[in-house]
C-alpha cells in the first residue's frame, strides 16, 4: 500500500464521515472535503498525527452560494494534503487556525480582504493586501465584483477594439 493510501485509510478510520470524501488525487496529492464543524478536528489530526507540518497556503474560493476554503499542507516526503470546507455566503465566518500555524495570519488576512470572510480569532493588525482606504464591502475575488471604471483587457474586448 502506498503512503498516500495509508493517509486516506488513517483519515477514514479516524473520521468515518470522510468515507469517499478523502481520496488520492494523484501521486503525492491527497485531498479531502469536510463539513465546517468537523474541519478543525481533521485539521489538527492531519497536523499532529499524519505529519503535515507545513502550511503551504490557504486558497479561498467563491462557489456561488458558498465560500470554499482549501488548506494546503505538506510534509517532508513531498505529499501534500488539501483539506476543504465551505461556509454559506450569507454567513461568512470561519475560525482562525493561528493556534496550529503561527504563520497563517497573513493568509487569513488575505481571505478577509479579498473574499470578505470574517476570521474569528485573528488579532488586530495591518490589513493585507488591499490599501488602507479601500472601500468597505468591496471584495475583489468575489465573482460578482468587477473593477469599477477600469477597462478589462480580455480577449473579447481586444477583438472588439480591433474591429
Amino acid at each position: 500500500m502506498s503512503k498516500e493510501d495509508e493517509i486516506v485509510q488513517s483519515l477514514t478510520s479516524e473520521f468515518p464521515l470522510l468515507q469517499d470524501k478523502a481520496k488520492v488525487q494523484r501521486i503525492r496529492r491527497v485531498v479531502a472535503d469536510v463539513t465546517p464543524d468537523k474541519f478543525e478536528q481533521v485539521f489538527a489530526y492531519a497536523k499532529d498525527n499524519l505529519g503535515f507540518s507545513v502550511l503551504c497556503t490557504i486558497t479561498g474560493l467563491d462557489e456561488g452560494s458558498t465560500l470554499g476554503f482549501i488548506y494546503h499542507m505538506s510534509r517532508t516526503d513531498g505529499i501534500t494534503f488539501s483539506l476543504k470546507y465551505s461556509v454559506p455566503k450569507d454567513k461568512p465566518v470561519i475560525n482562525s487556525i493561528l493556534q496550529y500555524f503561527t504563520n497563517a495570519d497573513i493568509y487569513e488576512r488575505e481571505l478577509e480582504d479579498l473574499l470578505g470572510v470574517k476570521v474569528e480569532g485573528l488579532p488586530e493588525g495591518n490589513r493585507y493586501p488591499l490599501p488602507d482606504d479601500w472601500p468597505k464591502g468591496e471584495h475583489p475575488l468575489r465573482k460578482d465584483w468587477k473593477p469599477k471604471g477600469a477597462k478589462i483587457d480580455t480577449a473579447e474586448t481586444q477583438v472588439k477594439e480591433a474591429k
Binding site: 502550511l55 497556503t57 467563491d62 482549501i70 505529499i79 503561527t102 504563520n103 477600469a150
Partner: protein, 406 residues
C-alpha cells in the same frame, strides 16, 4: 534615549520594490518591527479569471521579473495535470535547464544585492557583471533576458540546438570558475564575514514552525527542497544534493546560495548530457476539463505554489499563487528580534524578498471611480507633463525634432 519609530518604505533605497516596514528603535537597537505588505498588488489572480489559459501563461509569467519561469512553469504544470497532458521528456528537460539558469541568475543577483546592503559595492559590480553571462545565454535560448516566454501548456516553445548546448556549457564553465572565486571571497573576507555572521539568526525550530522555505530554511539546516521532495519537470531523473548549512544566520544563507549555484552548474551539465530526443510539445485543448490541481515548484527563493481550478471553459475558475516571499517574510520579525538597525537591510534582503511576487492581486490605479479617489494612468501622465510644462520644461519641441530625424 527615547524610542523612535522610523519608516522603511514604501520608498526606501534599501528596498528595490515598494513595501512598508516600520521599525521602533531605541538608539540603534530594534525594539519592534512590523510590515505592511500589499503595495505591489496588480490584480493578477482576478485578471487570470477573466482571460484564457493561453493568455494566463503570459500574465502569470509577469508576476515577477526575476522568477518568471518559476511562475509560468508552476502554472502550466497545474493546467497540464488537469487536462491530463503527457508532456514530452525533452520539454521537461528544457524546462529544468531554463529553471536552473534562472536560479543562477537570481542567486548571482542576490549576492550582488547582499554586498550592496552591507556597503560592499565591489561584490555587487562583480557579480552583476558575471550575471550578464547567464542573461546572454537565456536571451540566446529563449529570445528574452527576462520573462522568457518559453513555456506552453503541453511543452516548450523552442528547442535546444547544437550551438545552444555548446554555448551553455561554455558559459557554465566561466560561471563555475567565478563562483568558486566568490565562495573564496565569502569565506576569507573578514569584514564581510563580520557583517554577515550572527546577524538575522533564525533557529532550526523557528524555521520549522514559521514555515520558512527555500535557502532561508536550508540555512537553518532544514533539508527541504521541492525539487527533491516533490519532483517536477525532469528533476526525478537528475541527481543533486540539497545544500544546507547550520549557521542559521545571513552568512549561512549566503553559503547556501553559493552552494546551490555550484549544484545548478552540475545539474545543467547532467541535464544536457541526458537530454532525450523527441518532440518538445503536445497540443493542448483550448477548453480545459473540470478539475483542480495543486502545483509546487522550487523557485530560487523557495517553494512557489499554485492552485488552479477549472470549470470546463477556456478560462480558469480560480488561480491562486503563493510566492515564496510570503512564506519567508513572516520570519523576518523573528530574525530582527533585538537586532541592530544597521543589520535591517541585510536581514530583509537575506530572504531575497520579491514583493511583486508576493502581492499579486488587486490594482485600482486604472479606476476613476470617485469612491477610490484615484487617477487613470494616462491622466496622471498628462498631469505630470502639464505640471512640468508650467514650470518651463517643455519637451514637445525636442520630441518633434527627434521625430523628424527619424
Amino acid at each position: 534615549m527615547r524610542k523612535v519609530v522610523i519608516p522603511i518604505g514604501p520608498q526606501h533605497p534599501a528596498l528595490k520594490e515598494p513595501e512598508s516596514f516600520s521599525v521602533t528603535l531605541s538608539g540603534e537597537r530594534i525594539m519592534a518591527f512590523s510590515a505592511r505588505l500589499g503595495y505591489n498588488h496588480r490584480g493578477i489572480e482576478k485578471a487570470c479569471e477573466e482571460r484564457t489559459y493561453l493568455q494566463d501563461v503570459y500574465l502569470i509569467e509577469r508576476i515577477c521579473g526575476i522568477c518568471s519561469h518559476t511562475h509560468s512553469t508552476c502554472f502550466v504544470q497545474a493546467v497540464e495535470e488537469i487536462a491530463g497532458l503527457q508532456v514530452p521528456k525533452r520539454a521537461l528537460y528544457i524546462r529544468s535547464i531554463i529553471g536552473e539558469l534562472e536560479r543562477i541568475h537570481s542567486h548571482l543577483l542576490w549576492l550582488g544585492v547582499a554586498g550592496h546592503e552591507v556597503g560592499f559595492d565591489t561584490l555587487l559590480m562583480y557579480t552583476w557583471r558575471d550575471r550578464e553571462v547567464v542573461m546572454d545565454i537565456l536571451a540566446e535560448l529563449t529570445g528574452n533576458r527576462v520573462n522568457y516566454g518559453i513555456n506552453l501548456i503541453g511543452g516548450v516553445k523552442r528547442d535546444l540546438e547544437k550551438q545552444h548546448i555548446t554555448d551553455i556549457l561554455k558559459s557554465v564553465d566561466i560561471l563555475e570558475e567565478r563562483t568558486k572565486y566568490y565562495i573564496q571571497v565569502c569565506k576569507e573576507e573578514s569584514t564581510l564575514i563580520q557583517r554577515l555572521s550572527g546577524v538575522g539568526v533564525l533557529s532550526h525550530n523557528d524555521a520549522l514552525s514559521l514555515g520558512a522555505v527555500g535557502p532561508t530554511a536550508r540555512a537553518s539546516d532544514v533539508a527541504r527542497d521541492t525539487r527533491a521532495d516533490d519532483p517536477y519537470a525532469a528533476y526525478d531523473e537528475l541527481d543533486f544534493k540539497i545544500v544546507t548549512d547550520d549557521h542559521n544566520d545571513v552568512y549561512g544563507r549566503t553559503l547556501v546560495r553559493l552552494g546551490e549555484l555550484m549544484e545548478s552548474y552540475r545539474l545543467i551539465r547532467t541535464a544536457i548530457k541526458n537530454l532525450p530526443e523527441g518532440l518538445i510539445s503536445v497540443k493542448a485543448p483550448r477548453k480545459i476539463p473540470v478539475g483542480e490541481a495543486f502545483s509546487r515548484y522550487e523557485a530560487p527563493r523557495g517553494e512557489d505554489v499554485h492552485y488552479v481550478k477549472s470549470n470546463g471553459t477556456d478560462k480558469p475558475e480560480r488561480v491562486k499563487v503563493r510566492a515564496p516571499t510570503l512564506a519567508n517574510v513572516q520570519t523576518v520579525a523573528k530574525m530582527l528580534e533585538d537586532g541592530q538597525l544597521a543589520d535591517l537591510p541585510i536581514v530583509i534582503a537575506a530572504i531575497d524578498p520579491c514583493f511583486s511576487c508576493t502581492d499579486r492581486l488587486i490594482s485600482v490605479n486604472s479606476s476613476k471611480s470617485e469612491t477610490l479617489g484615484s487617477m487613470k494612468w494616462e491622466d496622471l501622465r498628462l498631469y505630470g507633463i502639464e505640471w512640468h510644462r508650467s514650470k518651463g520644461m517643455d519637451f514637445s519641441a525636442i520630441n518633434k525634432k527627434l521625430a523628424e530625424r527619424l
